[in-house]
Structures are given as structure tokens and as C-alpha cells.
Symmetry: C2
Subunit: 329 residues, 2 copies
């Protein structure tokens, strides 16, 4: 079982309209609501591909209740920490002509006491649920002390449970400082958080701070795992077009899946985690499968299997072309 | 006490962004949520100016719970009918450059049984709460039989309680057929519902169907009351600029206030309702006060008093200029 913390969950609303126009009153033709936030995307992909998860998340107000109900409907186990502020909503407006427009609320102010309750919830699961890993993924609400991420990583580390963190900014640095097993930013986030001039320099900064491995997702340029001594890289699966939103979250799920599938589990008994080519190829296959789905947080397990086979046998040529372009909702 | 039915209430969300742009991810700088729907606007204005109200509305899902909680916070008495569908949300996006963009969800499907429960709730209030009028205001959810509006009007009429209806389309015709005391469309709605070529012809159609009076709000062109024999008109209060959204709802509140203030109440003991110049001037004063407020459903009672004095003493010249332009949220 994987514990997945989503610090800033959301109600992701998608409005389809006939034609996006500024300054107009537009009838919404179709409304879709989904529980959102990067951690929940990771958890949904893990669940869809057969890995047990347990979500931990602060939830507040009617939109928080909506997220809790939606997770129940999806049969995703979750531990909610009640917060006073209201869980944020994102609204994405799509039509058949223009790129989607996204409006993102900043998220509630979560108090230090409420964060302590989230940490206590993580610790309870670490102590009692025999997790094979802890994942922390997504932004922090405004005015959150990034040290909370360090506290979760440290709690996992103290119990020999590997911690993977996909955050940005100071939260990414805090995760490295606390000795995260894997820091997994995308390249832009890595450069922004570290101020480094290139990916390798940024990765070395996080490794120097305390991260064991830094996995960098490069979008169409593939994925790389940095350690102090080495860089392992695999290309993205070619010929896959569609909706890139959530592909990085699916790659995180793939990475965790590969590591958890090893005979000794993610880490063996305290053994160092090795992110090898096989693990990165699994991440790439999950990411590619997510691109084929019109919404974030979903993969078709058959697509994952197909891409895994592809990467095992023939990694440098295109797979069968996939002209299906998902709606970028 | 005035019963106010809102057939299609909403959570009205306003997002302020730095600059509206299609196809971009936009950080929401400020979020405002208000209970919306024309009937709730009428009720809030009545409450703000000292008239007791009781809202009746179908509410469903988390957004319905949000509306109920918000009405509690505003101390507006309300009877909610639980419906399976989720209460709609409207999202209005504003910046300091362009006109606002509004996205309107269609609203839930409300079943015939659920509408029967709304009617039963209206009847209970008519029987037990000694209301001086019934107001029905706003759109119907998709696929609603407009006969429900007729049922509410008929229930009021059977008990000698005047019914004022501000609806559009077939619901407006159904209200007239059921003998509404006042039908109060705006001019566009009147022409659209009746297919008439001009306001007088449209008003005569509604009077012929059974309405006692047809009050037509003309925006900047004032307001008129049509009976079979007569048309009474007053101009809009000049020199008032700001946010016209909800001005018609405030005018409805003003009209009801004027009629309820008469010694014999709105109708006396079954006496016909007379919408005279004084009543229309009160409606215009409330409407002008609403224009000065940045959001619908609000008036400053001092503004109302000032405009009432103005219209009593000097109706054809401008009031002191009001350069304050409300945010058109």
C-alpha cells in the first residue's frame, strides 16, 4: 500500500462551451467535476493499475465534502483532515477551437494545527498500515510553511519507508533537506527551485541537500534519474499525442509501481533505492498511457501494458502511431 | 412577510484575475461566492430594507448545502426542498480591462415529485405564515414544466394572496394564465415570451390571459405598469451609473415594498392591486440603489431613501451625479 499525501486537493471542474469569448455570457453545455490535485492523480492511476493506496488530505467546506464523497464513489481509501478553509476549485473551460482556459483558486489557508493533524494522520498510517512508500505530490496552499513536507519525509524515513516527493519551490528543497528517497520535479520546477543553470547542477544541489535520487521528468524529452555518481536516462515513448496534463503524475505512479514490484519491495530492508532503466521505462509507459486519456488521473491498464512491452523490445523507434488526440481537458 | 420562490438558485462565484486571456492558466486573485438566483436577490434586498421574507427553493448536492448555509449566515429564513440534482453554479470572471465573462451551468433536473414538494412548501407557508405576497422570480431549470409556476400562483390566488411573477418564456405565460396579480418581465422577456411586436401588445396578451397588471422594466428607459385600460410610466432615475445586474430584482423588491406599505396591505381584503406612479417610483428608486452596489442582491437603504426623496420632489432632472462605477460582477 502506498500512502499518497495531497497537500492542496481541488474540485477540478471542466466546462464545455460552444466558443470561448471574453466578455460574453456563455451557456455551459457540459459540466464535469473530478477530485483533483497531483497526489490524487497519482493515487487514481495506482488504483487503476492494481496498487493499493491510501490518500491523506486536508479538506474543508462544501467542496472538501464533495472531494471526500467523490473518493468514496471511486473506492479510494482516504483519511481526511478537516480544515476551516474551503478546499479550492479549479475551472477549466474548453471548446473545440481554442486551447483550454484554466482558472485556479489559491486554496485555503491551512493552520499549523491543521498541518499537525495531517502529519499525525501520516504517522498513524506509517505505523499501522505497513505502507511500502509515501508519496507527497502537488502544490502547497498559500502561506504554508514548506517544513511540513520535510516532516512527512522525516516521519517516513524514521520508519524505513521510502518517500517520493513531487513538489516545487521551497517544498522541494525541504523534501531534499529531510532526506527524501526520491525528489521528482519536472525540469522547469528543478531549475526554478534550485536556481541552477542546468538540470545536472540542479539535481546535484538536491542530492547535496540530502535526496538519495533525483528523478527529472522532461516531458517529450523523456525522464532521467540522477545520483551523485550517475545519470540514467530513457526517452519518452514516441508517437503518442493527446493530453499531457497529469502525465507526470502517472509517471510518478509508474515509478512507484516499478520499485514496489521488486522482490524486496521499494527499498528492501533499508537498502538504497536504485532507480534503474527499467523503473524509468515503467514511468515513461505510465506517462504515455496518461497522454491517451482526455483527463488527468486516468490510464487504461491495457495502454500501460502495451507501452511496457514496447519499451522492453524496441525503445528507440516509434510505437505504432497514435493519432488519437485527446481533448486537452 | 413575503414568500419568495427561487426555482433555480445558484452559487454565484466571481473570480478576479489580472487579465482575462483565452487558452491561458490564470491565477484567481480573489474569489467571492454568493447565493444567487433572481428570487434570492429580491429576498436579500427586501431583508436589507426591513421587509420580512421567507425563501422557498429546491436545493441539491454540496452546492445546494452551500446555498443553505449562506442563507443561514445572512439570517434569511428559508424552506429548502431537497432535490437529487446538484444546484447550479455560475462563474463570472472579472478583471479591470474587459467586460466580465459569465459561465452559467444549466441547473439540475428537478423531478415532478420534487416540484410537488416545492408546491407543498409554498402552500404550507401560505396557510400558516400570513404572507402579504408571493414572489416567484428567475429561470426554471431545464426540462421543467412551466405549469409549476401556475400552480404556485393559483395557490396564492385561492388564498387571496397577491402573486408577483418575474419569469420568462412559457413560465411567464403560465403565470398569466393562472391569474398572476403582477407579471413583471423586462421588455425583452415580454416580447420574446409573447411574440408581440411592441410592449403594449405583449402586455395586453398577458392581461388577456389573466394577469391583473403587467409591470415592464425598461432598464435606463424606466418602468411601466400596464392594465387593460391604462399605462402608467415613470422614468429611470438619471445620472446613476454602475452595475445593472440585479437592478430589476431590486425594482421587484421596491414594487412589493410600496404595495405592502399601503394601509390595507398589498391588496386590501381582496381589493384589486393598483400599481400607481408612487409604486413605480419606489421600484425605480430600489433599482437605482442596486446599480450603485458592485454585486446583485444588495442595496444600501440610505441610497433607497435618497432616491425616494429625489423622485418625490424632482423627477425629471438628474440627481447629483454618481461617478462611482461599480464592478460589474
Amino acid at each position: 500500500m502506498i500512502i499518497v499525501v495531497t497537500p492542496n486537493p481541488a474540485v477540478d471542474v471542466t466546462y464545455r462551451v460552444a466558443e470561448q469569448r471574453i466578455g460574453a455570457t456563455q451557456r455551459v453545455l457540459d459540466v464535469a467535476r473530478r477530485p483533483g490535485g497531483k497526489g490524487l492523480n497519482v493515487g487514481r492511476v495506482l488504483a487503476a493499475t492494481g496498487t493499493g493506496t491510501h490518500a491523506v488530505l486536508p479538506l474543508g467546506g462544501p467542496s472538501g465534502r464533495w472531494v471526500a464523497d467523490a473518493l468514496d464513489a471511486l473506492r479510494l481509501p482516504h483519511s481526511d483532515v478537516a480544515v476551516t478553509g474551503e478546499t479550492r476549485t479549479t475551472v477549466t473551460v474548453v471548446d473545440d477551437r481554442e486551447h483550454p482556459t484554466m482558472f485556479g483558486e489559491p486554496g485555503p489557508r491551512v493552520t499549523p494545527d491543521e498541518w499537525d493533524a495531517v502529519t499525525a494522520s501520516v504517522e498513524r498510517l506509517l505505523d499501522n498500515a505497513e505502507p511500502s512508500a509515501l508519496v507527497v505530490s502537488g502544490s502547497l496552499p498559500s502561506d504554508t510553511d514548506p517544513a511540513v513536507v520535510g516532516a512527512w519525509v522525516a516521519a517516513a524515513r524514521a520508519r524505513g519507508v521510502p518517500g517520493l516527493v513531487d513538489c516545487s519551490g521551497d517544498a522541494l528543497l525541504a523534501a531534499a533537506d529531510a532526506g527524501a528517497t526520491i525528489c521528482k520535479p519536472n525540469r522547469g520546477e528543478l531549475l526554478e527551485a534550485t536556481g541552477a543553470a542546468d538540470e545536472r547542477a540542479g539535481a546535484l544541489q538536491l542530492l547535496d541537500r540530502g535526496a538519495a535520487v533525483v528523478v527529472v521528468s522532461r516531458g517529450a524529452d523523456g525522464i532521467a534519474a540522477h545520483t551523485v555518481d550517475d545519470v540514467v536516462e530513457v526517452p519518452a515513448i514516441a508517437g503518442v499525442t493527446g493530453n499531457p496534463t497529469g502525465a507526470g503524475d502517472a509517471a510518478t505512479a509508474g515509478l512507484i509501481t516499478a520499485l514496489a514490484a521488486r522482490p524486496a519491495g521499494v527499498s528492501g530492508a533499508g537498502a538504497p533505492v536504485v532507480v534503474d532503466e527499467t523503473a524509468l521505462r515503467t514511468a515513461a509507459a505510465f506517462g504515455a498511457a496518461a497522454v491517451l486519456r482526455p483527463v488527468a488521473g486516468e490510464v487504461d491498464p491495457d495502454d500501460v501494458r502495451r507501452f511496457l512491452t514496447t519499451t522492453e523490445t524496441d525503445t528507440d523507434t516509434d510505437t505504432a502511431p497514435h493519432d488519437r488526440t485527446g481533448s486537452p481537458a
